[in-house]
């Protein structure tokens, strides 16, 4: 499709705006050498703009359109009522520096959301400020860093399992920790032997995703907790996979000291093509003074709420204001609408759906480990390398069957997790869809044996055929340029 810059014509207008008359000249108000009046890139009418974006929208897949089983991303349905209500102008038009008295409704819901999250996770305090999961991890790492600094302990290392998301080591590094990888054992969990060997007084924390990215709840969680705490370290919970545990077990009860949650995963706020999300961070009481400022508080015995900047040991501010408030509103509304009697059903259905996929597909795409899974399942296409077929080919072929592929090439830790796809159906898919998806993968397995070429050239039925990522990296074109030679 043409770029917006290739559309329009000189002197077209898309913006209804009346200039009011003032006796000013720009040159008299603005330092002359600061002015640049030559930024001319687009003149276009409103109907053209509308068509352009409506057509772009058509070129994209989404969870509203179909099954989107990206593992660890929890692409569940996003309820429409939450979208509509979160646009309330009494919140949307509020400036972050407007007085607290003018924002009591917003502050109250933020306070209550924190309370819900405390109960759901059994943590003692939350900051709602972090903008995304990785931002939450960074916040959590800074809290841990400052805690040890205050204690006078120079712990420089953070342990991270090889199955962890890339954000974990990247966030620890941004907080200037040295990252030490912990190997997984033959059952897909943290190797206790390795953990015992690596855990010492120089380790600030272990970052753990549980269930992990291979879809298993780490059955040694009590042991892990003991090993880390015994040496004075802290336990960090990456809540990317909390959708498996709602109402079943809580991070706070498992011994975690700091956690982050991705509200755009478990709590159904839409992913928006890659954001905005929200990566709220919860801590146990002893770490509460370290939270970023401000936090939302309630006046004693009064239905009155305020922003508290007075935290003695705070790590400071992690973003300009108070977090992605509109996203927080959607998560709050989601919890209210799901309610206490339904919350556990979410995880139950998510677990059942994943195990159903595992059972029906394990003979075609063997799992890295032969055990039942939690809310997501990791299957391998390694055996099809004999036919010259890669995981990427399988993923692209799935598109021809009308499905978005699962997460591919992640996790990646040989010898167990190689050429693996991580499938997370979530609780909001119906069984008919899941069956069709399974049938598609079975059909693809048969195609590999009969006609592998059809996979290598896939996708066939999409508007765009296989996109050349190598060319993009070798000859980077990262912006439109008017005078560029074609």
């Amino acid at each position: 499709m043409e770029l917006i810059f290739e559309k329009g014509k000189k002197s077209r207008k898309g913006f209804s705006f009346k200039e009011e008359k003032f006796d000013y000249k720009l040159e008299e108000l603005i330092p002359e050498d600061a002015l640049d009046l030559e930024k001319d890139y687009l003149e276009i009418s409103e109907p053209e703009v509308v068509r352009h974006f409506v057509n772009l929208n058509e070129l994209n897949y989404s969870v509203d359109k179909g099954f989107y089983p990206l593992g660890s991303c929890t692409m569940k349905y996003n309820p429409k009522i939450n979208e509509a209500l979160s646009l309330n102008q009494k919140m949307a038009l509020s400036h972050p520096f407007d007085k607290e008295e003018n924002n009591q409704g917003t502050l109250k819901f933020m306070y209550e959301l924190e309370n819900f999250l405390k109960e759901i996770t059994k943590m003692d305090r939350f900051t709602l400020a972090p903008s995304a999961g990785a931002h939450g991890e960074f916040t959590g790492m800074l809290i841990i860093r400052k805690y040890f600094k205050e204690k006078g302990e120079a712990r420089k290392k953070v342990l991270i399992p090889d199955s962890a998301h890339g954000t974990n080591p990247a966030s620890a590094a941004m907080a200037n920790f040295e990252v030490v990888e912990v190997k997984s054992d033959e059952r897909g969990g943290v190797s206790i032997k390795e953990l015992e060997r690596l855990m010492d007084e120089n380790v600030a924390a272990l970052m753990l995703t549980n269930p992990n990215t291979v879809g298993f709840f780490d059955e040694n969680i009590q042991k892990i907790q003991e090993i880390v705490h015994k040496k004075g370290g802290l336990l960090y919970y990456d809540g990317a996979n909390l959708n498996a545990l709602l109402g079943i077990v809580r991070p706070g009860d498992m011994g975690f000291d700091v956690i982050h949650l991705n509200l755009h995963k478990t709590f159904s706020t839409p992913h928006g093509g890659g954001g905005p999300g929200s990566g709220v961070v919860g801590v146990k009481e002893f770490l509460a003074p370290y939270l970023p400022v401000p936090i939302v508080e309630k006046k004693e015995n009064k239905d009155e709420y305020f922003l508290n900047y007075d935290l003695s040991l705070s790590i400071g501010k992690v973003n300009g204001f108070y977090g992605n408030v509109q996203v927080l509103a959607k998560a709050y509304l989601y919890i209210l609408s799901v309610g206490r009697e339904n919350l556990r059903l979410i995880s139950e259905a998510a677990i059942l759906n994943a195990n159903y996929i595992l059972k029906r597909l394990k003979n075609y795409y063997p799992p890295a480990y032969d055990r039942t899974c939690m809310h997501e399942v990791v299957l391998s296409t390694k055996q099809y390398q004999n036919y010259g077929i890669s995981l990427l080919d399988v993923a692209k072929r799935l598109m021809d069957y009308g499905f978005h592929p699962p997460t591919i090439y992640f996790p990646h830790f040989p010898p167990y997790a190689e050429e693996v796809m991580m499938i997370e159906p979530t609780e909001t898919e119906n069984l008919e869809t899941i069956d069709k998806f399974i049938d598609a993968l079975i059909s693809i397995a048969k195609e590999i044996e009969a006609n592998p070429q059809i996979l290598k050239e896939a996708p066939h039925n999409t508007l765009f055929k296989r996109i050349d990522a190598t060319k993009a990296a070798r000859e980077p074109i990262v912006r439109y340029q008017k005078n560029k030679e074609k």
């Binding site: 917006i4 077209r12 898309g14 913006f15 000013y24 108000l29 603005i30 002015l35 640049d36 009046l37 930024k39 687009l42 003149e43 703009v49 772009l56 897949y61 989404s62 969870v63 509203d64 692409m75 996003n78 209500l85 009494k90 038009l93 400036h95 520096f97 407007d98 999961g133 990785a134 890339g166 954000t167 990252v179 109402g247 077990v249 159904s268 992913h271 928006g272 400071g316 300009g320 408030v325 209210l336 609408s337 799901v338 206490r340 009697e341 919350l343 259905a349 059942l352 595992l358 059972k359 039942t372 598109m399 978005h404 997460t407 609780e427 909001t428 898919e429 050349d468 990522a469 060319k471």
Partner: protein, 453 residues
């Protein structure tokens, strides 16, 4: 309401198929750690109940739609055309994820490529990423990038930067022991002190110099002179723009010798939302592309030679490089970037210039009206401001607030409300007025009348 289609019969069917009970599936979870009670959160609300409950809750807020606001200081109420509201709620923008599979994600990829192109046009730089969380974190990442490039932990930051941004910089800089060196502003003009800057640059190896323009006081800095000075000492020049509308008609990027331009693009069609989500932008020169944070979309072709787009220069990112990545950022603010693209498309280059001009004229109009009333005095002798200005008043803040309330206007930002080093140099009863196109001239006249009369 739980949005789960699975029926009880289907649950039985699944359990039968896998030959286990649900309890069996939970075996790895230690019994003693499991939750033995129902969670203490409210019972579910129906859609009707939810809507009523939420609307009642929101009624505890001021009805902001009935008021204009004079507050800026990093978040601005601008007019948002209906195209933005309509197009940004299209389902395949809202409910897609990161475009990992380009064949199914061309809509979002192209929209983000267009966003990057807009940012390059407006910042006069060669490469922009497809968004950051907000202006403050984007600037913090720019500083970390300059340290990677220049290998010195000394960074100079203009004192006239938005103090809230500075708080975030401190947070990001703290674990790396970055030495944030203060570049003072001239108390007469509000501009960065170039002599002081040269002294600092002479004295030590500096990775980068950070200057905001417009600065926190709304004043447009002499970026070109600063840029030349910074390059004379081989440091990097980082320019921050907290009010993106200024990009329309001010010089940035190559014309002022900036190496990195970051900022906040909330003003491009994003609701102010009590502070978020907004979005950061990040632009630099091509030679520094491989040290950039964030996702970048590139142009390429598909197997049939048709133009398409894909996430590119990926070897900088956390999912590939882990602890060696240029940043930990994964989710960004893609939908806000698309909103910005829709806004910038609707306005076109001329519309954006009109808005910028209107902001400048109206801000100066209000400024002059207040000053001639004698109830207000300018803080700086320099009137080269964009759409914000700093004044001091003989009236109390409470008095100003009450008077403005009568003309349905919320008061300006009060310097006393922030605690930061700025307070030592600026009287704490100073007021920072922000004026955007949402005010009509007639409304400004009323403000001048109630405050000046």
């Amino acid at each position: 309401m739980h949005y789960i289609p699975l029926t009880e019969e289907e649950k039985e069917k699944i359990l039968k198929e896998i030959g286990l009970t649900f309890e069996d599936l939970l075996t790895p979870i230690p019994q003693e750690e499991r939750l033995k009670k129902e969670l203490d959160i409210p019972f579910s609300l129906s859609e009707i109940e939810l809507e009523k409950y939420w609307n009642n809750l929101m009624d505890k807020n001021l009805d902001f739609a009935r008021f204009n606001t004079l507050k800026g200081a990093g978040a601005y109420r601008h007019f948002i055309p209906q195209t933005v509201k309509y197009l940004s709620s299209l389902p395949n923008f809202v409910t897609a994820y990161t475009p990992y599979q380009p064949e199914l994600s061309q809509g979002i990829l192209q929209a983000l490529f267009e966003f990057q192109s807009f940012i390059c046009e407006l910042t006069d730089l060669e490469i922009a990423n497809s968004s950051m969380y907000d202006g403050a974190s984007s600037l913090a990442e720019a500083i970390l990038m300059s340290i990677r490039l220049k290998k010195s932990f000394n960074v100079v930051v203009a004192e006239s930067l938005n103090p809230h941004y500075f708080e975030v910089l401190k947070t990001y800089a703290d674990p790396h022991d970055v030495n944030l060196i203060n570049l003072p502003f001239d108390e007469k003009t509000g501009l960065a002190d170039l002599n002081a800057l040269e002294d600092i640059l002479k004295s030590d190896r500096i990775s980068s110099v950070v200057v905001s323009s417009p600065n926190f006081f709304g004043i447009i800095e002499n970026l070109k002179s600063i840029g030349e000075l910074v390059h004379k000492y081989s440091s990097l020049f980082i320019v921050n723009v907290s009010e993106a509308i200024a990009l329309a008609i001010l010089k940035y990027g190559k014309k002022v010798e900036a190496d990195i331009v970051t900022g906040e693009a909330q003003s491009f069609g994003n609701s102010i939302n009590f502070g978020g989500p907004h979005l950061g932008f990040f632009a630099t020169k091509m030679e520094y592309a491989r040290q950039m944070p964030g996702r970048i979309v590139g142009e390429t072709i598909d197997a049939e030679g048709k133009r398409g787009f894909v996430m590119t220069l990926r070897s900088r990112e956390q999912d590939i490089k882990r602890e060696k990545a240029t940043s930990n950022i994964c989710s960004n603010h893609a939908l806000n970037a698309i909103i910005s693209s829709i806004y910038l498309s609707t306005l076109g280059s001329n519309g954006l210039k009109l808005v910028a001009k209107d902001n400048i004229f109206k801000a100066h109009y209000l400024f002059e009206g207040l000053i001639s009333s004698k109830k207000f005095e300018p803080v700086f002798s320099n009137n080269g401001f964009f759409n914000e200005f700093l004044v001091i008043s003989k009236l109390s803040y409470e008095g100003i607030k009450e008077k403005l309330f009568k003309v349905n206007t919320l008061p300006p930002f009060y310097i006393k409300d922030i605690q930061c080093p700025l307070n030592k140099k600026i009287k704490e009863n100073s007021l920072l007025f922000a004026v955007t196109e949402v005010f009509s001239k007639c409304e400004l006249d009323k403000i001048i009348e109630v405050l000046g009369g």
